[in-house]
Amino acid sequence: MLELNAINSGYGETQVLYGMSLCAQQGRVLAVLGRNGAGKSTTLKTIMGLLPTRSGEIRFEGKPIAKRSFDIAKAGIAYVPETRDIFPSLSVRENLEIAAKRFGGDGADWTFERVLDLFPRLGERLDNGGAQLSGGEQQMLAIARALLMNPRLLILDEPTEGLAPIIVKLIHDKLQELKAEGLSMVLVEQNFGFATSLADDVVVVSKGQVVWTGSAQDIRADEEAQHKWLGV
């Protein structure tokens, strides 16, 4: 579904990805693991067109991916960034509507009502400003907003970062529900248990390239790889 072939990318002069290659399959969850600074977030930003690829190719559903972020979004990739990036000047309702109005349409899978069913907490906060939410609520809003884009692929950057254990469990359950519905996902995570219990496939990234590929069961069993690449 999504394929990265030998991607070189980075910020300005600083190169972060050195020949990153990975493949996310339709209907499956791919977890991208690795230590801080390995290039996980950079990989997602490059997929979203937020950082330019210097060389290599990204293909989405068989075709070269668009260059500009809004075309990539329209092609069906929704992005939940590490910083959540809720718009502080917009109310919770407006944060959701801005995605719903553009991708809603008739017969859309995800509607305003349905994301509020998924995250009832957001329903109580609709008229609050985006800046007034707790970290957990911001994460729910970021996921809800991404779902309203009715994406074919959802990419999430560290959805559990900085959240209380009870919220992490809630996010886990919700993502599990989405997986059961067959939504394809790419998940960048530091939380090993969280990531491997959700994922089907796992890649481990170090110094801007993939150093380990396998299934979630494989990595849970492979203590040497865990120790060497993740310091678990």
Binding site: F70, K74, S89, I98, R102, R145
Partner: protein, 289 residues
């Protein structure tokens, strides 16, 4: 000097009129800056162009022709500027942008000299707006009241669009975080372009309504630039609220300073600017809190 109620009313109206004129100019500049992180110093030159277009059009088809068509013509100039220069310079950093748009001021200044000459032009106020109206016990020029009403109406319209419509939400989202807005499928570049054109049209409108009050000269764009920049620095970058607050503060300080403490008047606004920068360096109502 007799200071009575009439005096206060009169000066308040003067201050409001100056504020509204500054508001029309600064709102475009501040939203362009907030959304595009682009410093367009040539904004004042567009105001001067608006005045010249209005003067020429008024000579042909009367005041209202100038009033309605000058903003359109200035927006047209904005389209040329955007596609020719600004689009290419979006990523080139503030220093290059300041230098190029500063250069544009002089290029446009000389262009107006070539086309319209060095002599000041004047526009007649239309019949319905000439004369004076009795208002709260003072006689006040109708045309100045018209500017106050126009500025207020445009403020109301803009705040309605920004706070209640989908495009307004898109603009606020773009000012907050343009990268995330793009990731939600918003064509931020096109949004910039629309906002830029509206900003240019408002600058042109400001020039057109200012033309009958002041004499139309090539330098009018330079003269208004500093007050406009002070307004957006005081008000805070990128927000409508900042533009109106900054304009009102400037208008009132300038007007009342000039009549109550003429010796201090020219220093007063700069002192205020310095005070705001010390206490709240981002301005009073910045778009990004």
């Amino acid at each position: 000097m007799t200071i009575d109620l009439g005096f206060w009313t009169l000066q308040t109206l003067n201050a409001l009129q100056l504020s509204m004129l500054l508001f029309l100019l600064s709102v475009g500049l501040t939203v362009i800056f907030g959304l595009m992180h682009f410093v367009n110093l040539a904004h004042g030159a567009l105001y001067a162009l608006g005045a010249y277009f209005a003067a020429s059009l008024a000579a042909v088809g009367g005041y209202w022709m100038g009033f309605f068509l000058a903003p359109v013509a200035v927006a047209g100039v904005g389209v040329l500027l955007y596609t020719g220069l600004i689009q290419r310079m979006r990523k080139s950093g503030p220093m290059a942008q300041v230098l190029v748009t500063f250069g544009l001021i002089f290029a446009l200044l000389d262009l107006t000299r070539i086309f319209w000459g060095d002599l000041a032009l004047a526009i007649e106020v239309p019949g319905i707006l000439s004369g004076r109206l009795a208002f709260l016990g003072v006689e006040y020029p109708t045309y100045r009241l018209f500017i106050i009403v126009l500025g207020t109406a445009i403020f109301a319209a803009l705040s309605l669009v920004l706070s209640r419509t989908q495009i307004g939400a898109m603009i606020r989202a773009g000012v907050d975080n343009d990268a995330m807005a793009a990731c939600l499928g918003i064509n931020v570049e096109r949004l910039f372009f629309i906002v830029f054109c509206v900003g240019c049209a408002l600058a042109g409108l400001a020039g057109a309504v200012a033309a009958p009050l002041l004499s139309v000269t090539p330098e009018m764009g330079l003269q208004i630039l500093i007050p406009t920049l002070i307004v957006i620095v005081i008000g805070g970058l990128g927000s409508l609220k900042g533009a109106i607050a900054g304009s009102l503060i400037y208008g009132f300080v300038q007007t009342f300073g000039a009549v109550l403490a003429p010796q201090l008047a020219s220093v007063l606004i700069y002192a205020l600017l310095a005070a705001v920068l010390v206490i709240k360096p981002v301005g009073l109502f910045p778009a990004k809190g």
